[in-house]
Every structure is written in structure tokens, then in C-alpha cells.
Subunit: 149 residues, 2 copies
Amino acid sequence: METPRELFQIMTRRLGLLNKDCCSVGGCNLSAAQSHLLYEIYRSHNPSMQQVAETLGTDITTFSRQVQSLVKMNLVKKTPDPTDRRVYTLSLTPEGKMVATTIDQQMNEYLNEAFSHMSEFEVETLLRSIKLFNEAMGKSSNCCAPVKG
Amino acid sequence: METPRELFQIMTRRLGLLNKDCCSVGGCNLSAAQSHLLYEIYRSHNPSMQQVAETLGTDITTFSRQVQSLVKMNLVKKTPDPTDRRVYTLSLTPEGKMVATTIDQQMNEYLNEAFSHMSEFEVETLLRSIKLFNEAMGKSSNCCAPVKG
DNA sequence: TGAAATAACTTGCAATTTGCAAATATAAAT
DNA sequence: ATTTATATTTGCAAATTGCAAGTTATTTCA
């Protein structure tokens, strides 16, 4: 019987590969890191640089440059916060939204393809389990910084 | 209700952070990539460079150098294959085994800590589900190269 | 008020990591 | 034998990383 770690390691590896493969959209060829960045901006409401960097566990200086390159690609917009001018607020450009949703679709398509090898009940159980697990990891403050979500 | 992708994205991110945090053992400070490498050598029986690189989806030239650095750290041993002298077989040194199992323990400890916020039944269900999911991804050849395991 | 401390973000720089193209060395095929 | 294919390594140039230090804006509190 596999240990939990083995199960997660294999799954993580595969999902990592998927992440690599799935984030080329049209002309844009994003890295997995950039894809995560886009995703996080997409799902949160006008977050600051600081916030996103911390959520993703990325060094803030590295993050600053990652954002710069996405701005240059016209996927991300940086808006100065009117109430605190040290802060920049991040959002997606229309093009960025399109790329983000396309990546999302590609990922879901692949996942559904994998799910087609499972019964409907098994899929539902899996998704419910992962949801619970994410919540559990959120409560756990042991090893790595808790990431809200 | 979250899409499958959202659930997996959050989980993947968190497990990625865990991977980063959990692979420092004693003096050795490994990257997540090196930890994956160690794990894969550990679980397979005297694999060749080529095999491991492909399993991990790593470019072979990058992989060659990653192995070199692990050899230098005295965690991995490269043995020329007697039946085909182009091939090098990879294995863990005693020290490498120790590091690999220590990482494994650390990961399992953290996972168990997270599991403590779930019922026993929920944990069992989660693990069974992931096992099924891994098998399903193995059958799916759609997007990213299938990874045996 | 107005210096000193703190916070958000950026840049300099040096080290590491990456992948393509080309090289080496061995094996298989014809 | 010569060509072709396979496994691994090296050269090199580009991209990515993180620390230290810098800039600009805000807070603190004497």
C-alpha cells in the first residue's frame, strides 16, 4: 500500500506536467509560474503585488519582474492604489482574461478526459475529497505557509 | 461550485510550497526538482538517465546536470551499464537513501498533520480517490505525456 | 511638526538554471 | 565497413533566481 506521500508525489508530478503543457495560448507561451500568477490575479479582487507574491510563495523581487514581463505582454495591468501610493493593484487586461480562461478551459478539458476513465461517482467523490483536503491544509499551519483559498 | 481546475490548482500550489519547504535535510538543501529526482530513483530499480528524465518530463541535458550536482553531493551514484556502455544506471548512495527517506517522512508528517483536520473516513476516501485518479491519468494520453506510476 | 522607522515596490548584480545545437562514445543495421 | 541510431555530455547564450541596496510613500511618536 502506498504512503500518502507517494500518492501525492505522483499526482503532483503529473499535474505539474499538465501545467507546463497547458499554458500556451495563441502567441503567448507562458511558464507554469506565469500561469499560476495569472490564475491568482483572476480569482482575487484587485490584489496588491505583495498579496499575490505571498500567496504564491514567490520572492517579492522575483515576483516584481514576473509581473513586469506579463505587463509587457499586455496580459496584466498595474494600477497605483489611490489610497496608498506605495501599493500597486493588479488586474488582468481583456487579453489577459482571455488567456486565463483559455488556460482554464484547457486544464478542465484534460481533467475531464482523465475523469472519463472513472465512474461519475468516483469523480464526485474525488472532487469532494480534494475540497475537504484543501480546507484541511488551510487549517494546518505546520510546515509551509498557509495559503488562503 | 469550484471547477475541477480550481480545486487542483489550489491543491497543487500548496503541495508545491510543501515540496519546497520539506527538502532540506541536515546540510543538504535540495530544490524541489532534486527532491523529485531523488524520489524517482528511490522508487524505481536502477533506472537509466533517459528513463528518469522522461518520467519527470525534464530535458535530458538539464537532467544530466541535475544528476551531476547530486553526484557531487554524494547522494546519487552513476554506474555504467555493463551490457550497454552508453547507458548509465542511477542509484542512491546510502546517504542519498537517508535523505530520500527523511524527506519522505517530513512530507508524510505534514500530510498527516493536515489529515488531522479530517475524519478518518474522509482521509481514507481521499487517498482511495487519488489512487483512482492517478490510474485514470495514466490511461489518459491526451495532453501531457503519460507518466507511469 | 518633523526626524526616524516602517512598508511597498524596483533595480544592480552575481549565481544558478534552462534548453538548443553540437560533440562524444557506443551500439545496431545494412 | 559504413551508415544510422541511441545515450549521455559540453558550449553557449538566454532566462530566472534572490540578496543587498535603492526609491518613494506612509506611519510613528518625541
